[in-house]
């Protein structure tokens, strides 16, 4: 992997990102409207490399691993492409057409938040810095 020492680093960073995004009122409201159980499947980079976000029915829970229920949406990509994506350096539409991101389920709700990736990237940079990983920030 280009950006991560091991899959656990990626999981830690993305869980932290979603925890921090949950504190932003605009993003929290956007995710509330998505109203799905979403699995970010990075297991092509390691067997336990995945995180899930449950934003159904006004709830908001983030955890590593796989959820106990079938997710409404699964986005599968590598841990490195996940880092590029959250850094707003990998256009999600292009990534889907290049099959770097594979989608299973309804992506319509989540893709509505794609215009907010610029804001998410700012939060991601702070999350990485807080974790002591400012060297991973993509310029």
């Amino acid at each position: 992997m280009e950006f991560w020492k091991d899959p656990n680093e990626c999981v830690t960073a993305v869980v932290r990102l979603f925890e921090d995004c949950g504190k932003d009122p605009e993003l929290r409201e956007g995710l509330r409207k998505v109203n799905q159980l979403i699995l970010f499947d990075y297991t092509e980079s390691g067997p336990d490399c995945s995180i899930w976000v449950d934003c159904r029915n006004g709830n908001y829970k983030v955890s590593q691993g796989k959820p106990s229920e079938e997710p409404d949406l699964t986005m599968s990509l590598s841990a490195d492409d996940a880092h590029r994506s959250w850094s707003n350096k990998l256009n999600p539409v292009m990534a889907i057409t290049r099959k770097k991101i594979r989608v299973k389920g309804s992506a319509v709700g989540l893709l509505k938040l794609a215009p907010k990736l610029k804001k998410v990237a700012v939060i991601y940079e702070k999350s990485l810095t807080d974790l002591g990983w400012a060297d991973k920030i993509m310029k």
């Binding site: 256009n91 539409v93 292009m94 889907i96 057409t97 290049r98 099959k99 991101i101 594979r102 989608v103 299973k104 389920g105 309804s106 992506a107 319509v108 893709l111 509505k112 938040l113 794609a114 215009p115 990736l117 610029k118």
Partner: protein
């Protein structure tokens, strides 16, 4: 003008499908061309307006003269590619025992047919779950043979690998991508467009212009697309007023069809921006035809963007025929905006959103703003558009 200092993303992709054949009367070759693609039993997809005008019959007649078997004509397609009609169109294809499709129509017809072909290729009964996935690229395979005759100039749908479908339940337009959904062969026959009424000629021409302009100023812009988009602008500025005023001018009609395909190839690779994001929402909530919505929003969004893409708008102004010698980029960019307004007046497009009962009320505009801000195209706008920016754009357009 000398090529300015223009940047573009250091990684870009370019796709060039389909084959294109151009000639007045090229429809006479449809049987031969479909046989080369392996098709034997064709369904024609079109709409009732084109049937009534005799346009669909111009192509059907050529199919009947050939060795192809015409097994059905589906003319139920209406404005926008509606999911319920897509499903009905796929059922019709199967009922007729077809193995290929010939598409005669504008954007709604072509996008509907693309979606139908995806369902036929994938053995699907309902397009809704496919639309929800947005990107149908993983595991995508070539689809059954598909020839398109665009009858407007236009949406460029004959060349783009995406379609915009209308979810009538959610009142939302969904953008769906499939690498093989565009036609295997686009047959550009200007004789099929001479009966297009002046108003529709005007706003479909503005749709093509918007594709070219937004394709060049998109954050995904790159030099291959620029070349195609800029030439599309040259052709549109010269031939659109002629096509509107002299509908039977085959030279003008032909150049407009070519320009539409060029613009389609441009934005099909680079995406668009704020005009399309705002126009999609207007279409979904107020039923404004796509080309007309684009025409209304284009100069307003351009004006908003000038400082963020001044060099690109300078290239556009040059392609419009404006002398930009010695002009600073922002000044030249503003001249491009004025030229668009002038073109609109010349071709009789003077509508504002008020004419479509869009209320000039910040609160009542919020559903539009919400839809536009979530549109897949908005993040390609050169000026990053916050919700307040989008609201201001709509207010200016009323």
């Amino acid at each position: 003008m000398k090529y300015p200092n223009i940047t573009f993303e250091s990684l870009f992709g370019w796709v060039n499908r389909p084959r294109i054949l151009y000639s007045p009367g090229i429809r006479s070759e449809v049987g031969f061309e479909m046989s080369q693609l392996g098709g034997k039993k064709a369904v024609i997809y079109t709409d009732k307006g084109l049937v009534a005008a005799g346009i669909a019959e111009m192509v059907a007649e050529e199919v009947r003269k050939s060795d192809l078997e015409l097994v059905g004509i589906f003319d139920s397609i209406v404005q926008d590619a509606r999911i319920d009609i897509i499903n009905a169109g796929a059922a019709f294809y199967r009922k007729c025992g077809a193995d290929c499709m010939i598409v005669v129509g504008g954007g709604s017809v072509m996008d509907t047919a693309k979606a139908i072909n995806i369902m036929i290729g994938g053995g699907n009964e309902d397009f809704q779950p496919l639309a929800d996935q947005a990107g149908l690229c993983d595991g995508a395979k070539p689809l059954p043979p598909h020839i398109a005759f665009p009858t407007t100039a236009g949406t460029g749908c004959e060349v783009t690998s995406a379609m915009v479908v209308l979810d009538t339940n959610a009142h939302a337009k969904l953008q769906v991508t499939h690498p093989y959904c565009n036609a295997d062969l686009a047959m550009l026959d200007p004789e099929l467009t001479v009966k297009l009424p002046a108003k529709i000629t005007a706003f479909t021409g503005m749709d093509a212009l918007t594709h070219a302009i937004e394709g060049i100023t998109s954050t995904g812009a790159e030099p291959i697309a620029d070349a195609l988009g800029l030439h599309a602008i040259r052709l549109i500025f010269k031939y659109l007023p002629i096509a509107v005023k002299n509908p039977e001018d085959i030279t003008a009609r032909g150049h407009m069809l070519i320009a539409s395909s060029l613009a389609g190839m441009c934005f099909g690779n680079t995406m668009t921006g704020g005009v399309h994001a705002t126009a999609h929402a207007l279409g979904a909530l107020y039923g404004i035809p796509h080309g007309l919505a684009n025409a209304i929003m284009l100069p307003i969004v351009m004006d908003y963007n000038v400082k963020d893409a001044a060099e690109r708008y300078t290239m556009i102004a040059d392609a419009m025929g404006i002398d930009v010698t010695g002009k600073k980029p922002v000044e030249a960019a503003k001249m491009a905006v004025k030229a668009v307004v002038s073109l609109k007046n010349k071709i009789g497009l003077t509508e504002t959103l008020q004419d479509f009962k869009v209320p000039k009320d910040r609160e009542k505009l919020m559903p539009l703003v919400e839809l536009a801000s979530a549109d897949g195209q908005v993040s390609y706008n050169p000026h990053y558009l916050e919700d307040e920016d989008i609201l201001n754009l709509y207010m200016k357009a009323i």
